[in-house]
C-alpha cells in the first residue's frame, strides 16, 4: 500500500454554506461559503482576526458553528461528530513526545484487547511510504520536527481521515524538508482526499494550491485560481478595499530626523548575522517576516532579551544593561504580560519599582500607584469600570491597551512590540496606533513586529522585511497612498530577499 492508494470510502465534495460564529459581541465568521473539492489542495489566506483560525477550528471539529450548513457529497455532515475523519497537522505536532514513533502510531487505536498493542502490516506500510518506518522505535522527542509531522500524517492516514488541514506546517522546517512535505501533501490530495493549507507564506500558495480562498472580515472575499493565482494577487486581495485611515500631514515621518538608536555588526547565534539597523527620533519602524525569518528574534534582541554580539547605541549610550533599562518589550500575547491575579490598577504599575511606586524602605506608595494607574487609564483610553476590577473582566482590546500601557508607564526611549493589535477590535486597534504614534512623536521610537501589511500601513513610518536573517531595504510608508501597492512591494521584497538563499 502506498500513500497514494485510493481511499477506502469515496470522499464527496464538502460544501460549506453560511457558516457563522460569534464570540460574545465579536463576529468571527459572518457567513462563509466554500466548496472543498477532493483531489485538490485549497489554500486559505487571510489577515489575523479575519476568521481564518475560527474556520479551521470548526472544520477540525474543535468547536461548533452557530449557524450554517456543511454537507459532504450532498448529505449533511458535522465535523463535531466526524472528528475522526479530519486530521489537523499543526506547526507544533500535538503528539506524545515520550513515546516512540510506532507507539505514537498506535496511541488511541489500541482496540479492546488487554495486550500491549502492536503495529499491523498496514501501519508498517504506511510508515515506510512516509519514510519513517526505520524510525519506529525512536522516541518522538528525539526526532526532527519533519519526522514528527510525518508521524502526525501517518496517524491520520491510519485512521483513514478524509480531510487534511495543514496549519502553518512548514514555518519551522528547512527548505528541503518543506519541499518534501508538500510532495506528501500532493500525494494525499491525489489519493482523492481534501487538503487544506493555511499559511502566511504566499509563495507556498502559488506553488502548491489549485485554488486559494482569501478570508476577510469573516467571509470568503475572493477565490483565486489559474492565472490570477500569483503572490502579488494574493497579497493585494489580503488588503484591498480596507477602510483607509485619513492620513494627517505628519502622520508618516520621512525617517531623516536625529538618530536615536543604531546597531552595527549585530549578530545572533542562529538567527541573523551582521545586521545594520538605525532608527530616527519619532519613528515607528515595522519589521516583517514569516516565522523562522529571525524578525522576532531581532526585535527581542533590541530589548536585551536575546544574546547578541555587536554594537548597540541608544540615546548615545551603549551596553547591554542600558538597553535593558531604556527599552520596554511587549510580547505578542497578553498572557505573557498581564497578571491574572492582579487588578487593572496593579497591572498598570506592575513593571515599576523604586522610586516610582515604593519608598526607600520598599514600602508601597499606594497613593502614587493609584495616581499613576488613574492617569494611565485616561491617557491610554482603557475602558474599565474601576481600577480594582480584575484584569480578565476587560475586553481583549482593553487588556491589550493595559499591556502596552504597562510598558509605556516605565517611560522607555524605545518600545518594542510584537503584533501589537493581534486579536483586537477595530476601535481598539485605532486607539493603540494612536498611542504608539503619540509616544514616538514625543522624541522616542518604536519598533513593531508585524505579520499584516495593513498594520504596517496604518501604524508605521517605515517597513523592513526580513528573510533568513537578512534585512531588505526599507520602504517609506508615506510614499504609498494605497495599501495594495505597499502589499505588492512588500511581497516583492520578501521574494528578493529569499532568492540568494535558494541559489
Amino acid at each position: 500500500m502506498t500513500v497514494g492508494a485510493p481511499v477506502a470510502t469515496a470522499v464527496g465534495t464538502v460544501s460549506v454554506r453560511g457558516l457563522k460564529k460569534r464570540y460574545g459581541s465579536t463576529i468571527a465568521l459572518a457567513g462563509i461559503d466554500l466548496d472543498l473539492v477532493p483531489g485538490e489542495i485549497i489554500g486559505i489566506a487571510g489577515p489575523n482576526g479575519a476568521g481564518k483560525s475560527t474556520f479551521v477550528r470548526i472544520i477540525a471539529g474543535e468547536e461548533p458553528a452557530d449557524e450554517g450548513t456543511i454537507t459532504m457529497g450532498g448529505k449533511p455532515w458535522s465535523p463535531l461528530a466526524n472528528w475522526n475523519s479530519v486530521a489537523v497537522v499543526h506547526q507544533e505536532p500535538q503528539l506524545f513526545p515520550n513515546l516512540t514513533v510506532a507507539e505514537n502510531m498506535l496511541a488511541g487505536r489500541e482496540g479492546t484487547s488487554a495486550r500491549r498493542p502492536r503495529l499491523g502490516e498496514s501501519d508498517r506500510a504506511l510508515m515506510d511510504a512516509l519514510q519513517i518506518g526505520h524510525l519506529a522505535d525512536v522516541p518522538l522527542a528525539n526526532c526532527s520536527l519533519a519526522t514528527q509531522q510525518r508521524t502526525e500524517i501517518a496517524r491520520a492516514l491510519a485512521r483513514d481521515a478524509r480531510i487534511f488541514l495543514f496549519d502553518e506546517p512548514n514555518s519551522a522546517l528547512t527548505h528541503e524538508e518543506s519541499n518534501k512535505l508538500f510532495l506528501e501533501m500532493r500525494k494525499i490530495a491525489d489519493a482523492g482526499r481534501i487538503v487544506i493549507l493555511v499559511t502566511h507564506r504566499l509563495s507556498d500558495f502559488v506553488e502548491n494550491c489549485r485554488r486559494v480562498a482569501v478570508v476577510r472580515d469573516g467571509t470568503v472575499r475572493s477565490i483565486l485560481e489559474g492565472a490570477a493565482l500569483t503572490e502579488d494577487g494574493v497579497a493585494q486581495q489580503l488588503v484591498t478595499g480596507s477602510v483607509k485611515e485619513e492620513t494627517a500631514g505628519d502622520r508618516h515621518l520621512t525617517g531623516e530626523g536625529d538618530e536615536i538608536f543604531r546597531v552595527r555588526n549585530w549578530s545572533h547565534a542562529t538567527e541573523f548575522n551582521n545586521v545594520e539597523f538605525a532608527l530616527a527620533k519619532g519613528e515607528i519602524v515595522a519589521l516583517m517576516g514569516v516565522e523562522g525569518s529571525g524578525a522576532r528574534e531581532l526585535l527581542r534582541s533590541f530589548a536585551g532579551l536575546e544574546r547578541c554580539t555587536g554594537d548597540a547605541v541608544l540615546d548615545g549610550k551603549t551596553g547591554d544593561f542600558f538597553l535593558r533599562v531604556a527599552t520596554a518589550y511587549v510580547p505578542a500575547t497578553r498572557q505573557l504580560s498581564l497578571y491574572s491575579n492582579f487588578s487593572v490598577g496593579e497591572n498598570l504599575v506592575a513593571r515599576l519599582g523604586r522610586p516610582e511606586i515604593a519608598g526607600p524602605l520598599l514600602e508601597l506608595r499606594k497613593q502614587r500607584m493609584k495616581e499613576i494607574a488613574e492617569s494611565a487609564v485616561s491617557r491610554f483610553l482603557v475602558k474599565t469600570r474601576n481600577l480594582v476590577q480584575g484584569i480578565r473582566a476587560l475586553s481583549g482590546g482593553n487588556q491589550q491597551k493595559v499591556a502596552i500601557a504597562q510598558a509605556l508607564v516605565c517611560e522607555p526611549h524605545l518600545i518594542l512590540l510584537e503584533e501589537p493589535t493581534r486579536g483586537v477590535d477595530v476601535q481598539s486597534k485605532r486607539e493603540i496606533y494612536r498611542l504608539l504614534h503619540d509616544f514616538a512623536r514625543a522624541g522616542n521610537a518604536a519598533v513593531i513586529f508585524c505579520t499584516e501589511v495593513l498594520e504596517v500601513f496604518e501604524a508605521a513610518d517605515r517597513v523592513v522585511v526580513i528573510s533568513d536573517g537578512r534585512l531588505s531595504r526599507s520602504l517609506r510608508i508615506r510614499d504609498y497612498d494605497q495599501v495594495e501597492k505597499l502589499a505588492t512591494d512588500v511581497s516583492q521584497l520578501e521574494r528578493h530577499a529569499r532568492q540568494p538563499a535558494a541559489a
Binding site: L305, R324, Y329, P331, Q335, L336, S337, L338, Y339, S340, N341, F342, S343, G345, E346, A350, R351, G353, R354, I357, A358, L361, L362, E363, L364, K366, M369, K370, E371, A373, E374, S375, V377, S378, R379, L381, V382, K383, T384, R385, N386, L387, V388, Q389, G390, A393, Q406, A407
Partner: protein, 353 residues
Amino acid sequence: MTSAETRPPVPVDASRTTLASAGQATFDMALRMGGLFAAIIVVAAVIFILKPSSFNVDVAISVLRAMSSVAIMSLGLTLVIVVGEIDLSFGAMYGLGANVLAVLWLVAGFSVYSSLVLAIVAGAVLGLFNGVLVTRLKIPSFIVTLGSYNLLYGVSLWITHTSTFNPAYPPPGAVVPDAQLNFFTGLTASFGQHPISSEVLWMIGLAIAVGLLLHRSLFGFRLMAIGGNPIAANLARLPVARYKVIAFMLCGVLAAIAGILDFSFIQTVQPNSGLSFTFPVFAAVIIGGASLSGGKGTIIGTVGGALLLAELQQGLALLSPGPHVQQLFLGFVTIGAVALDLAVTKLRARRAA
C-alpha cells in the same frame, strides 16, 4: 485633585476609578476571610454547646499557644507559595534550628546568644540552598525541598548523636549559666493573670511584620506578580530569581525561629522535632486561601487557617471522641476549603459570562 482637572476627557467614570472603592477582588477577599472567621466562631460555638464547662480563657490561651509555631512556619510557607514554589523542608528546619542551638550551646560551649543567632543563620542558609537550586539549576522546588527535608533531618541526627536535649538538665560536662538559661526560657515566658506565653506575642509580631512585607511593600507586590505570571515578570525584568531565593530564605528563617521558640517553651528538643508539622502547616496556608499555583494568598488568611486548625485540634481533644476524629476533620477541612473556593469562583465566572 488637580490631575483630574488637567486630564483629557476619559471614557471611565472617574468617580469610581479608585483603588479604595470596593471592587471585585476586595469583595472576594472579604468574603473569603468572612467565611474563614465565621468557621472559627462556629467551631467555638459548637464546642461551647457540647461542653460548656471546658470553655474558658485558659483553654483559649492554650489554643493560641498551640497554634503559634504552626502559624509562624505558615507565614514563611505563604511567601514561598505566593511566589509559585513549594517548600517541604521547613518542618525539618524547625528541628534543625532547635538542635543547632542546643548542640552549640550545650555541647560546643557557645553562649546561648551566639548559638541563637547561628541557629537562625542556619535557616537562612537552608533557604539559600533551596532557592539557588530551584532558580539556578531549575530543579523543581518540590524535589529540592523533599531532598533538603531528608538532608536536614540527617544533619539533626548527626549533630545530636540522636540524643534529646534539655538545657535545665545539660549533658555531663556542660555548664549552663543561670543568666543564659533564664534568657532562653524568658523568650517564651508566661505573664498575666491567666498566664499567656510570650510565644503568642512573637507570633503576632512576626505575622504583622510578614503581613506588611507581603501586602504593603514592593517586595510583596512583586512576589505576587512573579507568582501570578513568572514569564511576564521575567520579560518585564523583575528580579524573579532573587525574590524567589529571598522567599525561601525567609521561610527557612521563620521555621528556625518557630523551632527555637517551641524549644524554649517545651524545654526539650529531639532530632525528629518538627517533622510532623509539615502537613498541618500546609493545611493552614491552604485553608487560609493561598493558591498552590501561586500569586494568591494573605497573611491574615494563613493565621486564620492556623487558628482554625488549632481550635479544632484542642476542641476535639476536649470532647475526646477519639484520636481518629481530629485526623478526619483535618482532611475534610483542607479539601472542603479549597472545594468551596473553586465552587465560588466557578459560580462567579458563570454569572459573569
